[in-house]
């Protein structure tokens, strides 16, 4: 059966914004973290940006457009089986790719959340360091490092998959992530119903506002959920 080929919006604007800001901020966090020194301040800022992006992505997975929603692409056994049998129809994340998406999100949450409590035994620590003991922070630092190694492996896998699609399947996966558009064979059954622009914009603002609030709270040591100790009164230390 031949369907006329048409262009559809496969990735909505907030999703694309999320994706590319995540690429930039993760790349920046890696470089600043590897170089250390005074760049650690920037590593911490990059971490907060990543935290906000992840909070947004998790919310968007519930209130975003069809292809962004977890329920639409979560790699269940049935979906994976259908995909491997060549029976999967869809334009968003395919079930195998979805496995990688979920893994990337879980590992990014891991590396980011442990980083909030971590310390480098030099001069830097995450914004929530004061909420835990040094011992716990050291343990978090160990996991921060392990998640980082896993993240590097997944990023490489991600890039290899894109290269694989480009070379062997002659499919450009990068362009749709930039423009949001993808040329597909028209197949009504698989075309997601797009909601009105106003509704998407409203939900975008809502998810964005919550994400900003999360970042603000964490950057301020957990306010207002954690009671902030008042600045210690100026202690008069003896002259010795």
């Amino acid at each position: 059966m031949n369907f006329p080929s048409i262009k559809i919006t496969v990735w909505d604007f907030p999703l694309r914004l999320f994706h590319w800001l995540l690429v930039l901020s993760v790349a920046f966090a890696i470089i600043s973290g590897e170089l250390g020194g005074n760049l650690m301040d920037w590593h911490e800022r990059a971490g907060l940006l990543i935290l906000g992006l992840l909070a947004f992505r998790l919310l968007w997975g519930f209130i975003g457009t069809a292809n962004a929603r977890f329920c639409s692409f979560f790699p269940t056994l049935n979906r994976l089986r259908a995909y491997l049998d060549g029976e999967w129809r869809g334009y968003g994340h395919n079930p195998l790719g979805a496995l990688s998406v979920i893994a990337l999100l879980v590992i990014l949450v891991g590396v980011t959340v442990t980083g909030l409590f971590a310390n480098d035994d030099i001069a830097s620590h995450g914004p929530l360091f004061d909420l835990v003991t040094k011992h716990t922070s050291d343990w978090m630092s160990g996991w921060h490092d392990r998640f980082y190694t896993m993240l590097l492996a997944l990023v490489i896998l991600h890039l290899l998959a894109i290269a694989w699609y480009a070379i062997f399947k002659k499919q450009n996966l990068v362009l749709p992530m930039l423009t949001g558009k993808k040329r597909v064979e028209h197949d009504e059954a698989a075309t997601p119903v797009m909601s009105s622009a106003w509704s998407v914009a409203l939900r975008f603002i809502l998810a964005g506002a919550i994400s900003v609030a999360v970042v603000w709270s964490v950057a301020n040591g957990g306010q207002p959920f954690v009671e902030q100790s008042a600045p210690p009164p100026a202690v008069v230390t003896p002259e010795w």
Binding site: N38, L39, D121, I122, G142
Partner: protein
């Protein structure tokens, strides 16, 4: 026979009890040295980077001098053979590679001492921007050795 067995037992207990005593002591002292330096690093960071408005020239000089003094105190003595194993205040995280790459160790240690001494010098000058820049270099010197010769946190 009984006496002999007792002597063996005593020897066994004493050697196991004292095995690594000197190594553990070295580890303990060097852990103390680095902890003390970290305390001073923290004070400089608080005054120069986190809250420059709270900058107190004399306090920063005192902290930088303390770091330089510890760096110049001959810490290499505390890295005797076999001290990649053992427990000071806590288990050491020194990698065995430390003893296989003496040239690299010397380079990293010399870098660290140079940056620490430079920080003490810059602190005297009292220019917060200069102190901040040199403070970053010291942090990089710390990190270079941690990355190479320190076991990752478990």
């Amino acid at each position: 026979m009984k006496k002999f067995a007792l002597a063996i037992l005593c020897a066994a207990i004493s050697t196991s009890a004292f095995a690594g005593k000197e190594e553990d002591q070295q580890i303990k002292v060097r852990q103390s040295a680095y902890t003390f330096m970290a305390w001073n690093v923290g004070k400089i960071k608080a005054q120069v980077i986190d809250r420059p408005e709270a900058y107190d020239k004399n306090q920063v000089i005192a902290a930088a001098n303390a770091i330089a003094a510890v760096a110049n105190s001959g810490l290499s003595v505390l890295f005797g053979p076999g001290t990649d194993q053992g427990t000071g205040w806590k288990k050491t995280r020194l990698k065995p590679e430390f003893f296989k790459q003496p040239d690299e160790v010397r380079k990293l240690a010399t870098d660290f001492n140079r940056e620490a001494n430079e920080l003490a010098k810059v602190a005297q000058g009292g220019n917060v921007g200069d102190i901040k820049a040199q403070f970053g270099k010291l942090g990089e010197a710390c990190k270079a050795c941690h990355d190479k010769f320190r076991v990752k946190e478990d």
